[in-house]
């Protein structure tokens, strides 16, 4: 088989289970193409992602979407530090959505971990995309940007550029490059006292071939990484100048409001639009396969006229389906099917059979919407054989490709205009295409830009949801109260392999997955399977501890002897939270720990019961080992964010299905943690110095169990089904803290 170069890189990464460090950041020399295609003035790309101009302005191009995770700043810090640039000289730019700036390193990183990243799996399955083409994405997701693009591309690009600048200076001065040093955007020859700025050397350096394996700094040599540096995207976000997809604007723009089939997967049958068409500002009513849209000269006019459209959608077998039916189906699957193996160790069935004591529990969590603050939207302008597009996305190249294919244009004829992203959390990843397809089909009918906007209700009712999951557990004890078997049966699908596995040292484990399909479309949701599984596992562990009268913290420590990083974050969090010490009257601490996306997180929630018998979360103490921190303040912000996102889900989050459709419409039905319900959060970063872990997601999984484990102590009630708001705690019977 003939393999092109890209295909070869990824194929070998997968086959070998390893990662070709830095390869694509330096070879093939993408900087040459960049200089040919993108540079007009005297500035030069020295390696991929880094451009230097004669006045020593150093532009770093970031191939990831800024969604508030501070990625533009953190990745620039990684490249700038290896380059030995002065931070003041650095200009941060979003990399354009062209293949030159694809971030295949993410894919390679994942390839090392699990094979192809699961949240991108659809690409491999559903279309003509080949594995090689995965390299051509510009995806932001899976808490991967720092771990893979940062470690394997940005740092390497910075280090390679530094070596090229040194080589250029060595040529210029006819000295050995070993005599040269770099500091604050200058190359120095200490012996002669000469120095040249990077800008003065850039043109020469750009003619050189990037080194394949430039040497990276030790942590002790960092000047920029590890410092709390202010994010470059923040100033524009306090004065209204930051542009999001929804802010695309032109005077001749039209606006589309859309009504999609309320029952997923059904088609539009007929439309009576006569009244709508007579409304002020209305241009057209457009019928699509599964929806009808009103296009007007103002969004409010379009939306108002849409309410006058009489649309009939086809009937479907799902018309009567409710959450109760789906739950019954999941329970039936669990009762009747043995499912498929996720993980088997020893013989759990036999251990359960022989055991003196067995504990059983059934857990379940509902579907969840992403509910990013910026409702889904997409603006498309098609003129002849060219299209322009604006949308907030986690994958610019993927979205460009999608618009091209729906519009029937070659990809190069579509220009993607990057904006900030008003929240992603998985909603704006590839495969969650509904918005993009509709916007493109609508825009095809006009020669001016058309902005299609999902209302909040559309956004909530036409999402791709975090899957609902049921999980049945059994555990067995021997005569000494030691746990000897762990038995877990849950409804799938598995989106992230390994999330249902446990770090706890239990001799016999049987973990199997059964079919958890329904007609509800699903997708990745911040922390993916970990969000459900950590709630299940850490709750059931707590049940086990209470059953044998052990302190839940001590039980975890005992069963994690082989897992020093878990133990360390537990220890640090427990110490900081004052675990085991006196608490204010009526307060209790709940604890949970989880490894996800390469980071280890322990959370301790301090909870009391309010006058209305509803839990109040006062404080969350978190310890995180993410290897080390590139930008410590950003690490803390991501942890705070992840905890509050998970707390919202635990307390309130629930998408239910009635008559085949989503019952919730807007925020009052899908409540959020707000100022009044937001706990104080204390973050402790544990620097183990191990490989970098992700941060966008790992704080979300543990919080639900941390809170419900505290609720158990306060009320004697074990919350086995989320959200917490559905539980009645009026007959509380507190449990003594062991």
């Amino acid at each position: 088989m003939k393999m092109n170069r890209r295909r070869f890189i990824l194929a070998s990464a997968i086959a070998g289970g390893g990662v070709l460090i830095g390869y694509s950041a330096t070879r093939p020399s993408r900087h040459r193409r960049a200089n040919e295609e993108l540079v007009q003035g005297p500035e030069r790309f020295i390696s991929s992602f880094i451009k230097i101009d004669p006045s020593n302005d150093i532009t770093i191009y970031i191939p990831h979407s800024e969604m508030g995770q501070g990625i533009h700043t953190s990745l620039s810090m990684m490249a700038a530090d290896e380059l030995d640039a002065a931070w003041e000289d650095v200009i941060i730019e979003q990399a354009p959505a062209i293949d030159l700036f694809a971030n295949g390193d993410l894919v390679k990183g994942f390839a090392g971990e699990f094979g192809v990243p699961s949240f991108l799996m659809g690409l491999v399955n559903v279309s003509s995309f080949s594995v090689a083409e995965l390299m051509n994405l510009q995806t932001t997701g899976g808490s991967t940007s720092i771990r893979y693009t940062g470690e394997y591309a940005m740092r390497t690009a910075g280090a390679a550029a530094r070596e090229m600048l040194i080589a250029a200076a060595a040529n210029r001065w006819s000295v050995s490059s070993t005599e040269l040093t770099t500091e604050l955007s200058y190359v120095q020859h200490n012996a002669s006292g000469r120095s040249l700025s990077f800008g003065e050397l850039a043109a020469d350096a750009a003619l050189l071939e990037p080194p394949e394996n430039p040497s990276l700094k030790d942590r002790s040599q960092f000047n920029i990484m590890g410092r709390a540096i202010s994010r470059n995207d923040i100033p524009a976000k306090v004065d209204g100048s930051a542009m999001y997809g929804l802010d695309a604007h032109s005077d001749d723009m039209l606006y589309a409001a859309i009504k999609l089939t309320p029952v997923f997967g059904t088609k539009l049958l007929s439309v009576d639009a006569s009244e709508a068409l007579a409304q002020r500002g209305v241009k057209r009513v457009i019928e699509l396969e599964d929806s009808v849209a009103v296009v007007a000269d103002n969004y409010w006019r379009a939306k108002k006229a849409l309410e006058l459209v009489n649309a009939t959608f086809e009937e479907s077998e799902f018309d009567k389906v409710s959450s109760t039916d789906i739950a019954a189906r999941f329970d039936r699957e669990l009762a009747e099917s043995n499912g498929s193996t996720d993980k088997e160790v020893g013989d759990a069935e036999a251990a359960l059979e022989e055991s003196a004591d067995v504990i059983e529990a059934s857990y379940r969590v509902p579907y969840l919407a992403h509910a990013a603050m910026e409702p889904m939207n997409c603006t498309v302008h098609i003129q002849g054989d060219h299209a322009d597009m604006w949308t907030s996305t986690q994958d610019a190249l993927g979205m460009r490709g999608r618009v091209a294919s729906v519009a029937g244009l070659p990809e190069e004829n579509v220009t993607f205009h990057q904006t900030y992203c008003g929240g992603g959390y998985g909603r704006r990843l590839p495969f969650n295409w509904n918005m993009i397809d509709h916007a493109t089909l609508i825009a095809k009918e006009f020669d001016v830009p058309v902005k299609t906007i999902f209302s909040r209700e559309d956004d909530m009712q036409q999402d791709y949801y975090r899957p609902a999951v049921h999980n049945n557990f059994k555990a067995a004890f021997d005569a000494n109260n030691k746990v000897i078997a762990w038995h877990s049966r849950f409804t799938g699908p598995i989106q992230v392999p390994g999330a249902s596995h446990i770090a706890y040292d239990i001799e016999n484990q049987s973990i199997r997955v059964v079919d958890g399909d329904s007609h509800v479309p699903i997708a990745a949701w911040r922390s993916v399977d970990h969000s459900q599984q950590t709630f299940f596992i850490e709750s059931f562990m707590d049940e086990i501890a209470h059953r044998v009268g052990m302190n839940p913290y001590q039980m975890r420590m005992d069963l994690l002897q082989e897992h020093p990083r878990h133990r360390k974050v537990l220890e640090v969090a427990a110490e900081a939270a004052g675990y085991g010490q006196n608490l204010p009257d009526g307060h209790a601490l709940g604890i949970a720990v989880q490894e996800s996306f390469g980071s280890f997180v322990a959370e301790i929630a301090e909870v009391s019961m309010g006058e209305e018998n509803q839990p109040i979360v006062h404080k969350v103490t978190c310890a995180v080992d993410c290897g080390w921190a590139v930008n410590p303040d950003t690490v803390e912000a991501q942890i705070e964010s992840g905890i509050i996102f998970g707390l919202t889900a635990a307390m309130y989050g629930e998408i239910t299905i009635e008559n085949g459709r989503v019952a919730q419409g807007n925020f009052p039905d899908y409540e959020m943690v707000r100022m009044a319900t937001s706990p104080e959060i204390e973050v402790h970063i544990v620097e183990s110095g191990e490989a970098l872990g992700g941060l966008g997601e790992p704080a979300t999984p543990p919080i639900a169990a941390a809170v419900t484990n505290a609720i158990y102590i306060l009320t004697g009630q074990r919350v086995r089904e989320l959200p917490i708001k559905n539980h009645d705690f009026s007959r509380s019977n507190p449990v003594a803290q062991v």
Binding site: G70, V238, H249, E374, G424, G642, N666
Partner: protein, 157 residues
């Protein structure tokens, strides 16, 4: 016809009296700093000031602000500086938002900054309970702990 001032500039628009101020500002005037989040006065993303007080512009018809003075996030600093000749680039609240590195995705923050600005103007030294009762904006990214710290810091100056 609807006539009102936005950031000191008077606009007369040939629009329906029941058009929400939000869509007049965004789609008719092309000013995009004021955000759409829910459309039902629940999230606060669309908060603007009418004569200095916060209102949720997604449910405020333009007829209700006839002849009034509206300030959006783009005009906040200038409005705060008033007739002072030295116009600051940012208000103390905006500066605190940078100092405390509050915005994440930032989409809610126009509304959050507007809500906190008018709140602190009327109550410069709020208690936590007052903050909780008055600042009801949604931030899906969970910037609340930092917002609270910034408000406390602003109250202490």
């Amino acid at each position: 016809m609807a006539t009102f001032k936005v950031n000191s500039v008077e606009h007369t628009l040939d629009i329906e009296p029941d058009m929400p101020l939000l869509w007049a500002i965004r789609d008719e005037l092309g000013m995009t700093g004021t955000k759409f989040g829910c459309g039902i006065a629940n999230c606060g993303a669309c908060t603007v000031h009418v004569n200095g007080s916060s209102v949720r512009s997604c449910v405020t018809p333009v007829s209700a602000v006839e002849g009034q003075e509206i300030t959006t996030i783009e005009g906040l600093a200038i409005a705060a500086a008033g007739t002072n000749s030295s116009t600051p680039d940012l208000t103390a609240v905006q500066q605190a938002w940078i100092d405390h590195q509050i915005p994440q995705c930032g989409y809610c923050q126009s509304g959050m900054v507007m809500a906190v600005s008018s709140f602190l103007a009327s109550n410069p030294n709020p208690t936590d309970a007052e903050i909780d009762a008055s600042i009801t904006n949604i931030c899906r990214c969970g910037s609340y702990p930092r917002v609270r710290k910034a408000i406390r810091a602003l109250a202490n100056v």
